[in-house]
C-alpha cells in the first residue's frame, strides 16, 4: 500500500500501535531520532492538547523565526531600563503580505515605556478649530462605520548598509498588517472641521505623549483610527488600544496609544516635528511620504541555494504613493529587467508580494528587484541617487532622506547569497 496517504482506519491503527507499545513520552524521542522517516508505521510525534492551546494557539516549535534588535550592534532592545524597542521583522521567512502581529516591527522612540492601558478607561478627544469637540470611548468608536485595509508601516531607520548580513537587517523595519477602525474623516465630519483648519496634531497616551503635526488633507483622505490589527485588537507594542494609521507616511506619524487629536490652523512644531526638521527642502520632502521600494526576500543574504535549477524568486514591494503597478526582476546584475508576477491584487500603501520564475545556471550573479507605483515613481539604484545629488557613489555615500534604493543580492557559484553592498 502507498505510504503517502493514510486512510482513517490506518491512522487509527498506527495510533493504536503507538499507544500500545510505548507511553507517549517515551515514544516521542525515539521517533524524533528518525525525522526523515515517513513510512506507514512511523507517524510523527503527537502534540498533546492542553487548555492553553484551546485559548490561544501557538506556532510549531520547529518554526523559530524571531525579531531582532535593530540596527545590529546598536543599543539592545529592551535596554537596561526596559525602555527602548527597536526591533526588526524576519522578512527572510515571510510569506504572503501580512506580517503576523507577533513579528511586526516595533520602534519606540523618545524613551517611553509601553503604556498598560485599560481600554474601558481610554478616550479619544477631538478638539481645536471644530464646531463640536467630541470625546469617544472605545465602544463609541466600534459603533461607527468601519474600514478594514492592508497597510504597511515603515520606520525612517529602515536602510540597508554594507554591514547588514540579511534582509532582516537591511529591510526588517517595515511590516504590513490588516488594520480595522474608523476613518479619521468620519470622526472629523462628526466634529465639523472649520475652514481655518490646516494641520492636525495627533497625540499618544504614553509617557512622553508623543505628538506629530500632519496636513489636514491627509486626515480627510485616508487616515484610520484603528482598534483592530490582523483580526484582533491592536497589540500593546503597536499602540493598544488605538493607533492612528497614516498610510504611506513615515512610521513615526502613525501615532500609538492615540488619545487626542487637535485641529489647528498652523504648524505646531511638536517635539517629533522638531526631530523631523531638515535644512534642505528636498530632504524634508524625502523624509515624509515613503517612496517606491521593493526587496527580494527569497533568495536573500544569509540563505543558501542547494544547487542549480529552479527557484521562484519572491519578494515584497510597497510605496507611500499608492498602489504598486510594476515590479521588475533582474537576475544578471541589472542588465536585463523582467516583469514579475503579483501574488494577489496590489493594495494602496500595502506590501505587495511578487514572484518570478528563475532557473539558476550555477554561475555567480546578482539578483535585484525594482518597482514602479501608480504615480509613476520608480525605485532608484544608489548610483542614480548619488548622481541626483552630484555626489560620488562609493562606500561612504549615504542616501539622503528615506532610503528606497534597490537592494542587490550576490549569488555565489557555491549557492551562497550575500549583501551586494558589502
Amino acid at each position: 500500500m502507498g505510504s503517502k496517504r493514510l486512510g482513517r482506519r490506518e491512522l487509527l491503527k498506527s495510533g493504536a500501535t503507538l499507544a500500545g507499545g510505548f507511553t507517549l513520552g517515551a515514544a516521542a524521542p525515539a521517533l524524533g531520532q528518525e525525522p526523515a522517516t515517513h513510512a506507514t508505521h512511523s507517524s510523527p510525534p503527537m502534540i498533546k492538547g492542553d487548555k492553553d492551546m484551546v485559548a490561544y494557539g501557538d506556532r510549531s516549535k520547529y518554526v523559530t523565526s524571531v525579531r531582532i534588535s535593530h540596527p545590529v550592534g546598536s543599543r539592545p532592545s529592551p535596554d537596561e531600563f526596559g525602555l527602548t524597542f527597536h526591533i526588526a521583522t524576519p522578512l527572510q521567512d515571510s510569506v504572503g503580505v501580512i506580517t503576523p502581529s507577533s513579528l511586526h516591527y516595533v520602534a519606540t522612540t523618545r524613551g517611553a515605556f509601553l503604556p498598560d492601558i485599560d481600554p474601558k478607561e481610554h478616550r479619544l478627544m477631538i478638539h481645536g478649530v471644530v464646531d463640536r469637540p467630541l470625546t469617544f470611548t472605545m465602544d463609541d468608536l466600534k459603533r461607527l462605520p468601519s474600514v478594514t485595509r492592508l497597510h504597511f508601516i515603515e520606520c525612517a531607520g529602515n536602510r540597508s548598509s554594507r554591514r547588514a548580513k540579511n534582509v532582516q537587517e537591511t529591510h526588517g523595519m517595515t511590516s504590513c498588517a490588516e488594520w480595522t477602525g474608523v476613518l479619521l474623516s468620519t470622526l472629523l465630519k462628526e466634529c465639523g472641521v472649520k475652514d481655518s483648519a490646516k494641520w492636525f496634531v495627533a497625540e499618544g497616551a504614553e509617557e512622553v505623549k508623543g505628538a506629530s503635526s500632519m496636513p489636514i488633507a491627509k486626515a480627510m483622505d485616508d487616515c484610520i483610527v484603528a482598534y483592530g490589527m490582523n483580526g484582533e485588537a491592536v497589540r500593546p507594542q503597536n499602540g493598544f488600544p488605538l493607533r492612528l494609521m497614516v498610510p504611506g507616511f513615515e512610521g513615526i506619524f502613525h501615532t500609538k496609544y492615540l488619545r487626542r487629536i487637535k485641529i489647528v490652523d498652523r504648524y505646531y512644531m511638536n517635539y517629533n516635528d522638531y526631530g523631523h526638521m531638515d535644512q534642505d527642502a528636498k530632504i524634508a520632502a524625502l523624509d515624509y511620504q515613503i517612496g517606491p521600494k521593493s526587496v527580494i526576500t527569497f533568495p536573500s543574504a544569509g540563505q543558501q541555494l542547494p544547487g542549480k535549477g529552479f527557484y521562484e524568486i519572491s519578494g515584497l514591494a510597497w510605496s507611500g504613493g499608492g498602489v504598486i503597478k510594476l515590479v521588475e526582476i533582474s537576475t544578471d546584475g541589472g542588465k536585463k529587467w523582467n516583469k514579475a508576477e503579483f501574488k494577489g491584487t496590489p493594495q494602496r500603501m500595502a506590501h505587495t508580494r511578487f514572484g518570478y520564475p528563475w532557473n539558476w545556471d550555477g554561475q555567480e550573479t546578482e539578483i535585484l528587484s525594482r518597482c514602479t507605483d501608480e504615480l509613476g515613481q520608480v525605485q532608484p539604484t544608489r548610483a542614480q541617487i548619488a548622481k541626483y545629488w552630484n555626489k560620488p557613489f562609493d562606500q561612504t555615500f549615504s542616501v539622503p532622506g528615506l532610503d528606497n534604493s534597490i537592494q542587490p543580492w550576490k549569488i555565489g557559484s557555491d549557492g551562497s547569497v550575500t549583501n551586494g553592498f558589502a
Binding site: 505623549k209 483622505d221 522638531y274 534642505d280 524634508a284 520632502a285
Partner: protein, 188 residues
C-alpha cells in the same frame, strides 16, 4: 393656490439643509466640557496662546535641574548623560546645523522646549512639574545654550517672543496633497 407658494419655501429649506451638511451624521460621542479640554490640551503652539500663567528664570531652573533629577539622565549642565544632550558641545562660531540636535538650541520656537518638558519630563513623573517649574527649566536650558541671559524671566508673554538662533533657517515641509509624488523629478 396654496402649493405654488409653499413649493419655493420648501426648496429654500432643502438647499439650506444641504449647506449645513456639516452637522453630525451619527450622533456618537460626547461633548467634552471646556474644563476637560483645558486639562487634556497640553499642545503649546508657536504663538503660545495655550500657555498657562506662571514664570521662572534660569537661576531657579538650575536648582530644579538638580532637584528634579534631570542631571541623572541628561548629565550635569546638560552634557554627559545617557539621555539626549541639552547643551551643544560647540559654540556659536560653529554653524548652527553642525552643533548637534540640541532641542533648546535648534528648536525654532521656545514653546517647543516648554511643551516637551511639560508633556514628557521627568520620565515616569511627567505632568508633575508646575507651570512655574517648566518656565524655570526652559529658561535654564535656553540660558545654557546662550539663547537668553541668565536673569531673563520667562512667562506666557515673553516665552513665545524668545528669538531662537535658527530663525527661519530650516526647510518647510512639502505642501502635501493626496496622490502626488514625494519629490518631483527624483531621482531622474
Amino acid at each position: 393656490m396654496g402649493s405654488p407658494r409653499v413649493l419655493p419655501f420648501a426648496f429654500v429649506l432643502l438647499t439650506g439643509a444641504s449647506a449645513l451638511a456639516q452637522g453630525p451624521t451619527y450622533g456618537v460621542g460626547r461633548a467634552p466640557t471646556p474644563e476637560e479640554i483645558r486639562a487634556l490640551d497640553i499642545s503649546i503652539g508657536p504663538t503660545g496662546e495655550e500657555l498657562p500663567p506662571g514664570k521662572g528664570s534660569a537661576k531657579e531652573g538650575a536648582q530644579l535641574y538638580r532637584a528634579q533629577g534631570c542631571a541623572g539622565c541628561h548629565g550635569a549642565a546638560g552634557v554627559g548623560g545617557t539621555a539626549p544632550m541639552l547643551k551643544s558641545k560647540s559654540g556659536p562660531e560653529v554653524e548652527l546645523w553642525a552643533r548637534g540636535r540640541i532641542l533648546p538650541l535648534r528648536a525654532p520656537f521656545a514653546t517647543t522646549v516648554w511643551d516637551y518638558i511639560n508633556r514628557g519630563m521627568p520620565l515616569n513623573r511627567e505632568g508633575t512639574l508646575t507651570p512655574d517649574q517648566v518656565y524655570a527649566l526652559t529658561a535654564y536650558l535656553l540660558f545654557l545654550n546662550g539663547v537668553i541671559p541668565e536673569d531673563q524671566v520667562l512667562d506666557a508673554q515673553s516665552l513665545p517672543k524668545v528669538k531662537m538662533p535658527i530663525g527661519d533657517n530650516y526647510a518647510s515641509l512639502p505642501d502635501w496633497k493626496p496622490r502626488t509624488p514625494r519629490l518631483k523629478g527624483y531621482p531622474y
